[in-house]
């Protein structure tokens, strides 16, 4: 159980798969609960630009891996650029460590269960000895709690 190469988080949302899909992909919604927008056409193989705190991150390696609307979404994680590190207040040492770690990927599975959706996040391919796994373990419950609140409110 000390495997730090991946992390999984499950929650259940009172909504339709279409509403949860929209919350994962619509920049107007991700901005509200994540402070992040993802600029892409959500087709498999398409590039993605990330924007957080006014910093735009572009890299050809940031791509949509799988896109099966209302069922499954997967994409590679963003590059840790110096501009990103500055905007979120990372010190130089931490920024350098993150920039050196391998690129991770996330996938979301949406399964309807009665009048709810079971949302499963799998964040994978972490460097076992890296620092990103711990940071994401802290962040995902907060991000997905925010998504659930936003979707159930609307």
């Amino acid at each position: 159980m000390s495997d730090n190469s991946s992390l999984e988080y499950v929650t259940h949302i009172q909504a339709t798969p279409e509403q949860v899909w929209r919350a994962l992909t619509d920049p107007g919604m991700t901005a509200q609960y994540w402070g992040t927008t993802l600029d892409t056409d959500w087709r498999a193989g398409s590039p993605m630009a990330w924007e957080q705190l006014g910093v735009r991150i572009e890299d050809p390696a940031q791509v949509v891996l799988e896109s099966d609307p209302h069922r499954r979404l997967s994409y590679t994680w963003h590059t840790f650029t110096p501009e990103f590190a500055t905007s979120v207040g990372l010190d130089q040492e931490l920024a350098a460590r993150l920039a050196a770690e391998r690129r991770t990927k996330v996938s979301f599975d949406l399964e309807p269960q009665g009048n709810t959706v079971k949302l499963t996040l799998l964040h994978d391919d972490f460097d076992q000895a890296g620092v990103l796994h711990g940071m994401c373990s802290e962040a995902w419950p907060q991000i997905l709690a925010g998504l659930k609140t936003l979707v159930e409110k609307s």
Partner: protein
């Protein structure tokens, strides 16, 4: 150090620590989102019982090991056929985090990987239902909470 599996699950709820504490310990509230009444006076050393709504079937229970309202509650989960035998222990930690409450469950001394999978799936549902109830007034449906 125990080499038995353990499980940690965290959620964030727009509510006060007192509301979250009440939602975990008031059988009238647990009945709404957990399809079970958690019956106990929640004093250290007291027994607690996890009683299914409707049928009254006792699905589990154990002993209250630590109670610090509205911050921390630790209970044992005992073998129903042999109540003296503690099988696992879970702790709820309730922390104010700006305008929300961070609720953590830490469940330790699980028997094996199968029980780990079961409790992981269970806590995700229970906390999702609790969060929905406190934030919207509507828990997850009983059909989702008790499948099959």
């Amino acid at each position: 150090m125990s080499d038995k599996p353990s499980f940690v699950y965290v959620t964030y709820i727009h509510a006060s620590p007192e509301q979250v504490w009440a939602a975990l310990t008031d059988p009238e509230i647990t009945a709404q989102y957990w399809v079970h009444r958690n019956e106990s006076d929640f004093q250290v050393g007291s027994p607690w019982r996890h009683v299914r709504v409707g049928t009254g079937q006792v699905d589990g229970g154990g002993q209250v090991l630590e109670a610090d309202p509205p911050r921390r509650l630790t209970c044992s989960w005992a073998d129903l056929d042999n109540p003296a035998e503690t099988t696992s222990i879970f702790t709820f930690d309730i922390e104010q985090d700006h305008e929300v409450v961070k609720l953590t469950v830490t469940h330790v001394d699980l028997a094996d990987e199968e029980e780990l999978r079961d409790v992981a799936g269970g806590w995700a549902k229970v906390f999702a239902s609790l969060k929905s109830l406190l934030e919207t007034g509507a828990p997850l449906s009983a059909a989702v909470m008790l499948p099959g």
